[in-house]
Symmetry: none
Subunit: 228 residues, 2 copies
DNA sequence: ATACCGGTGATATCAGCGATAACATCGCCG
DNA sequence: CGGCGATGTTATCGCTGATATCACCGGTAT
């Protein structure tokens, strides 16, 4: 009996890995019952002994890819600065999304809103990090809202970076988004210096076209400089 | 010839409306070539005379639904407070996402990242609103970054609200997200006065030597310009 | 007026998909 | 050893998107 479940789990794992490989490399459309079965070395109907339907298989595959990523996050020990830990987690999360667009696309689909184990684990890790910040007395909003804001911002940022990367993508958008969220959920102490040079530059750049003393060519060149 | 194109557009519109209705009410899975053709009163292969493939039809359907929403946004005249206009646009956008989860799910898919006309128009409206804020001297970051941040936050917020609405959803999450973004992209007050461009130029010029992104030669040239 | 012809639509059909039923086989447990 | 549930295979279904081929209709040129 114990050997039965073991065998069952082994073939199930083989199937999931085959499906995960197809999903990661070629997208969800490539994950067909026939191809997965071929890569796993059995006939298509056998999949239905282990999974209710193809959606369950696809969820398991996406969860498998995501789980490997989540496992890597746990290893990094918490530092003495909980906010820096949060930022580190943010960056790895953004990196995962950009590196695995297909998997992220699956997790993005609202119709496919199952909370798989790895996803729940990821949320748990995030909640724990937020809790440590709250324990340090540096949280301005409820932990629940902070978690929701961070998740929303992360998903939206990854989506934006994945969507418009022909070249006009903002390489520091992820940092800017994190700073925005941090400013919103943290108490002001270590925030940004109030005298923000960026604000002055932005204001200057806005009124640039209206300056009478500059030719349009000069203004255009200047605008290009300031875009940096 | 003109009548030909007219006729073509009429049947195309009929097909798109049928597909949009199915998409809005029953989701993308219900949008099959056979059902759309039946509702539009023709045979499935006829669709391929007007659309390259089913993806193009689905895009047109989603765009049709989204276009109706965008059309409603344009009618509202701009008020005297550009930030309030931005907030109003934010709220309608969130509302659309929550009211049309299927369409939003399609627009969410990174693999389906075509920028349809209605979507481009929506971005244009947002960019215009951001520009008015910038013109009022209340923007702290570049207009491009502000637009990207707002779009990211909106998408992420809608996704979060759509994903975890069993009852633990935060009804004020959308407001909190907007406040976070507003705090991040707006100056605390209309700090830099619009009335006095000279003051802005002066402030900018003072700050010029410390800008890291400009070479000393560029800064010198710029300084010379600004001396006028 | 008539013959033509590009564009619109219908018919028939294809390959691939997810899924199920019915049959074969393997391996444990009594 | 005999039985029986679990595992896997074969055959097949209905549905999907898509294409080739033919019929027709209306404007154009002769």
């Amino acid at each position: 009996m114990a050997q039965n479940t073991q065998r069952r789990d082994i073939t199930r794992d083989r199937i999931v890995k085959a499906a995960a490989g197809l999903l990661r490399d070629q997208g969800p459309a490539a994950v067909t019952t026939r191809r997965v079965a071929q890569e796993a070395g059995l006939q298509p109907p056998a999949l239905y002994r282990l999974f209710q339907d193809k959606d369950e298989l696809l969820d398991a595959a996406a969860d498998h890819v995501f789980a490997e990523h989540v496992a890597g996050k746990q290893t990094t020990a918490p530092s003495d600065d909980p906010v820096e830990d949060l930022r580190a987690g943010w960056n790895t999360q953004i990196g995962f999304g950009l590196a695995n667009p297909y998997v992220y696309g699956l997790l993005l689909d609202p119709a496919r809103a199952r909370d798989t184990p790895a996803q729940a684990e990821g949320v748990r890790i995030l909640a724990e990090r937020v809790h440590r910040i709250a324990a340090a007395g540096r949280l301005r909003v409820s932990e629940e809202r902070a978690v929701n804001l961070i998740r929303s911002a992360g998903i939206g940022t990854v989506h934006t970076l994945l969507t418009l990367p022909p070249g006009q993508s903002d390489p520091h958008l992820a940092d800017a988004a994190f700073d925005a969220i941090a400013r919103a959920i943290l108490v002001d102490r270590p925030a940004v210096p109030t005298q923000d040079p960026a604000a002055v530059v932005a204001a200057f750049r806005t009124l640039l076209p209206e300056l009478p003393t500059l030719s349009t060519a000069e203004a255009a060149l200047l605008d290009e400089w300031l875009q940096r």
